[in-house]
Assembly symmetry: C2
């Protein structure tokens, strides 16, 4: 199947595997690339060194194109952009819209820039700044975007911009791909569906929880990192949301941050800087 997305990126199928933190590592991205779709490494949960090594690992296993997702508001975003450019990564995707300067720097180096957005005006903005394509995520998606449903948001964005539009939020099978193409999208991006594949490193127990869940088990919460996040209503979410009093909330936040720091290898000053940037980010 040939669309504006397959032509742009050089993949066989108009399907994007999104950059999910922890989940989208070299193993999943390599498998996705080999299967003919666009895999995206999640770099927010990697140090710059880990990112470089992950890129090289994918590159050593396949010649197919792949991408790297980064947070435009991360303190070390420029360092990560340099790694992407130096390593010759095909696509840079962003969870939050990047600045005009960051887009220009990547494009000058021949990297395709594909931001994720949750509103029509954000799509118009990044398109005007030279983005090569845009991933539009409806409110039913898991990422940090808006609350407008895919059926409403997607046709609006397709009408508003001339670059290829990739539809995200609620897509999980071939029927969804056809529906997205009907709306004028050039392909679909999926997260959860890839999280549940055998190439995902997510533990089987977690996959089982997802498979057993129904739509009623999904919640929208800001309790995890301050930004709206659509996810399974797990014990952790219940604990975070039910915490009585600000002191307990602060204690919980520090404890979680500590754990996140240990797991991610990020520094405390870097985390505080990123946390403040996320709070102020749009």
């Amino acid at each position: 199947m040939r669309t504006a997305l397959t032509d742009l990126v050089g993949v066989r199928h108009p399907i994007v595997q999104t950059g999910m933190g922890w989940v989208a590592g070299p193993r999943l991205v390599t498998a996705t690339a080999r299967a003919g779709a666009l895999g995206i490494l999640a770099s927010a949960t990697m140090t710059p060194e880990q990112l470089r090594s992950a890129v090289r690992e994918v590159r050593s296993r396949t010649d197919a194109p792949f991408g790297v997702n980064l947070r435009a508001d991360a303190g070390d975003a420029r360092e990560r952009v340099r790694i992407i450019v130096e390593e010759g990564v095909r696509v840079a995707s962003f969870a939050l819209a990047p600045s005009r300067e960051l887009i220009a720097e990547l494009k000058d180096a021949g990297v395709l820039v594909v931001p994720s957005v949750g509103a029509r005006r954000h799509a118009e903005k990044v398109a005007a700044w030279g983005a090569d394509a845009v991933i539009v995520q409806g409110g039913e998606g898991g990422g940090h975007t808006g609350d407008v449903a895919t059926t409403v948001l997607l046709p609006q964005v397709v009408d508003a911009v001339d670059i290829p539009v990739v539809a995200a939020g609620g897509f999980h099978d071939g029927r969804g791909l056809v529906a997205a193409l009907a709306y004028g999208a050039a392909g679909v991006a999926m997260g959860t569906r890839f999280l549940l594949t055998s190439d995902s490193t997510v533990p089987d127990a977690v996959k089982a929880r997802y498979l057993a869940a129904t739509a009623k088990d999904i919640t929208l919460t800001r309790a995890v990192d301050g930004l709206p996040h659509r996810m399974l209503r797990t014990e952790m979410v219940a604990e975070l949301e039910g915490g009585a009093g600000r002191l307990r909330a602060l204690y919980g936040a520090v404890r979680r941050a500590s754990r996140f720091r240990r797991l991610s290898g990020l520094s405390w000053p870097g985390m505080v800087r990123d946390g403040l940037a996320m709070r102020h980010g749009k």
Copy 2:
């Protein structure tokens, strides 16, 4: 275009004009029927006498099939069912799932029963009770249904039941119809799009408000009648939601109920009964 819906109902296009209170009267339904889609009279804002006269008015202007929407939990639901049967209306649709007995009574009289649902288990329930088709409304729809987005809910329901599924919630043009068919639906149901036609009796000033609105101007509120309702964030909604104190809220509720009663011609006891039924309804 031929689908399971056009075959079932005998319409030329797999499109349903929903039974919007106040809006879906004889004029709009006649125009819809003549255009080849399925128009549905909204009976909740009519007295039984007004309903009978509206049905006769449409019948006098077109031979094409049309439907009547009613509240299964209304105190006089059986009286309205009798009118539908006596007047030979083709389709009975329901905003809330009807009882097994009500479905049986309508089917015995040769009326097609098409409930609206917002959850897979409700679709399974009414299908098991003999409903002829089901309108599945995603969370982005305006009616009183659930909060699961169309992209997630629709394929679930299509997989779960064997009767024709009509997709509602976020559909507004031909692209949406193709998308719905891709998911396996037999057609789409639309409200707002018909509200904005020249055959809608809604005042031009109101249509202008809709046309000027963006996705950001939509709100989900229980302030109007106690059930979740997705609608324009108007001054009225702001006033209802911002009302300080329970006394003021009670005063406002009585004032609005009084106005609703005057406009609808319903009796006070009937309104109170219906209001309690809605509160207890699922």
